[in-house]
């Protein structure tokens, strides 16, 4: 069997075995967000001429797409490091790049699964369905790829992965709350609107708004694709470098 496929089955299987936690992460957490911010708070006021829930729902999908890779890569790399499972993987007759690809691909798929669950929840709880499935898919895949690479960088760059875990708290928070997830970019004024453009979550949330309802205020699609695309391309070599360096140090 192909190494990448085997690794994907291993990673997904490990998470399914912890089904209770997977359910909380995949379903209950976003459902609570959607109910409180979408159904309860969202019904109270409008935003930019549209229902607030409609502006916010794509942002919750963006958070779900982000949390998938974060969870999968952290739950794979951290035990791999501390229980030395990584060593076993490194002894498999495959290149380091293939191991990296398998981890990134796992993150992407998990991001897509998390996103798909929340897309379903948005439809069930709020009654919103995406206007363009292809745009939703394109943004979802690119965003999941970006967050997989980001997670690898954050976990692999510091001296030990637990330091990476700490660092991620500082990265995750601004990405979640300042990346135009709970509000549209058009609702921000300078300098916050410029600062928000530095966060890739802004492009993901705005792109998903366009995919859900093109009449909602959102950044131009070209800018969205450029923002996600450039961030991902910049992160790719850094992620590979950080991953190689961390594994080298792990073996020392």
């Amino acid at each position: 069997m192909n190494f990448v496929l085997a690794m994907l089955i291993r990673d997904f299987g490990a998470d399914i075995r912890a089904l209770r936690f997977a359910m909380i992460r995949l379903v209950i957490q976003p459902a609570v967000y959607l109910f409180v911010f979408g159904h309860v708070v969202g019904g109270m006021f409008s935003a930019g001429g549209s229902h607030y829930a409609e502006t916010m729902a794509p942002g919750i999908v963006a958070i779900a797409i982000m949390s998938g890779p974060v969870t999968l890569i952290a739950s794979s790399i951290l035990p791999g490091y501390y229980y030395r499972t990584l060593e076993g993987w490194l002894l498999a007759p495959v290149s380091l790049r293939l191991l990296l690809i398998s981890k990134v691909l796992g993150g992407v798929l998990y991001g897509m699964v998390s996103g798909a669950v929340v897309v379903g929840l948005v439809w069930l709880l709020l009654g919103f369905a995406p206007a363009s499935l292809s745009l939703l898919l394109a943004i979802g895949v690119t965003a999941a790829l970006f967050f997989s690479l980001l997670m690898l960088v954050v976990l692999c760059l510091p001296r030990t992965p637990d330091k990476g875990q700490e660092a991620f708290s500082f990265v995750l928070m601004p990405l979640t709350f300042f990346g135009c997830t709970f509000y549209s970019h058009s609702m921000l004024e300078a300098p916050y609107s410029q600062l928000a453009l530095m966060l890739p979550t802004t492009y993901v949330s705005e792109g998903l708004r366009a995919a859900y309802n093109p009449s909602l205020p959102h950044l131009p699609l070209e800018q969205v694709m450029l923002g996600i695309g450039v961030s991902t391309l910049l992160l790719l070599p850094i992620a590979e470098w950080a991953f190689r360096r961390r594994l080298r140090d792990f073996l020392w």
């Binding site: 030395r84 498999a92 020392w252």
Partner: protein, 249 residues
């Protein structure tokens, strides 16, 4: 291939800190041989094993495994190896059987074949009842058995064992010795690192003694900034495998 299975030629390895656990290391191991790597803790045995298994790259010199260069042909080499590292590296997310099956899958076996071989190894290692047990719940000795089963599972040309019996009771040690000898009879070459001389004496055709430091050898104090270096200081070709539990094996 008729040449040696392991060829180590003037190999050195140094960490960025300047520590040089291995220096001027040269030895060969022929097909069908059980070669023992002896030495006290810190002598450079584990570093040597990491170099042989391609996990580390030599700073100087050359290592060839089955005629393949460890720098350029690491993937092909890893396909020929069965390794028991010093520390357990079992996957805590999987049970005993899962660890074996996924090890097979990662090494390119088909699912059916990986399951068949996992089943095949559960019985002789006494792991049948523990097949569905999470590995974290296993005792140290049982974890070691699972590690050994992983190494054997892919039917490797070369088995590399880093202190496989360290800290184990006599019964488990004897059992592991038996497996090593059986493997050698059917498949071939074994490199065994140990700090138990009696283990080497029982199992090995030849032994290389690795000592910490050229400096220790020359009996001069280590100067500041001069790293200690490990190298094989004695090869004993006369030792033959005698027994695992008193009798001839």
């Amino acid at each position: 291939m008729n040449g040696p299975v392991i060829e180590v030629a003037d190999v050195a390895f140094s960490y960025p800190t300047g520590t040089m656990p291995v220096s001027g290391l040269s030895f060969t191991v022929g097909r069908g041989e059980v070669f023992g790597l002896l030495g006290p803790n810190g002598a450079g045995k584990t570093t040597t094993i990491k170099l042989l298994t391609t996990l580390l790259r030599p700073t100087r010199g050359r290592i060839r495994i089955a005629g393949l260069d460890t720098r350029r042909e690491a993937v092909a080499i890893k396909g020929k190896l069965g390794v028991v590292p010093q520390d357990n590296n079992l996957d805590p997310a999987l049970d005993v059987k899962g660890n074996l099956v996924f090890h097979g899958l990662f090494h390119g076996l088909g699912k059916r074949e990986a399951v068949r071989r996992a089943e095949q190894w559960l019985e002789p290692l006494g792991l049948r009842e523990k097949a569905r047990e999470p590995v974290m719940r296993l005792s140290g000795g049982t974890k070691r058995k699972v590690m050994l089963a992983k190494a054997f599972l892919t039917e490797p040309d070369l088995l590399i064992l880093d202190e496989p019996t360290s800290g184990l009771d006599q019964e488990t040690r004897s059992f592991i010795w038996q497996q090593i000898v059986q493997h050698c009879r059917s498949h071939g070459t074994v490199l065994l690192s140990t700090h138990y001389p009696e283990e080497a004496k029982r199992l090995c055709d030849r032994v290389g003694v690795l000592r910490v430091g050229r400096l220790e050898e020359t009996d001069q104090p280590a100067g500041e900034g001069i790293p200690a270096a490990g190298k094989i200081v004695a090869l004993t070709p006369e030792l033959r495998r005698t027994s695992t539990s008193g009798g001839t094996v």
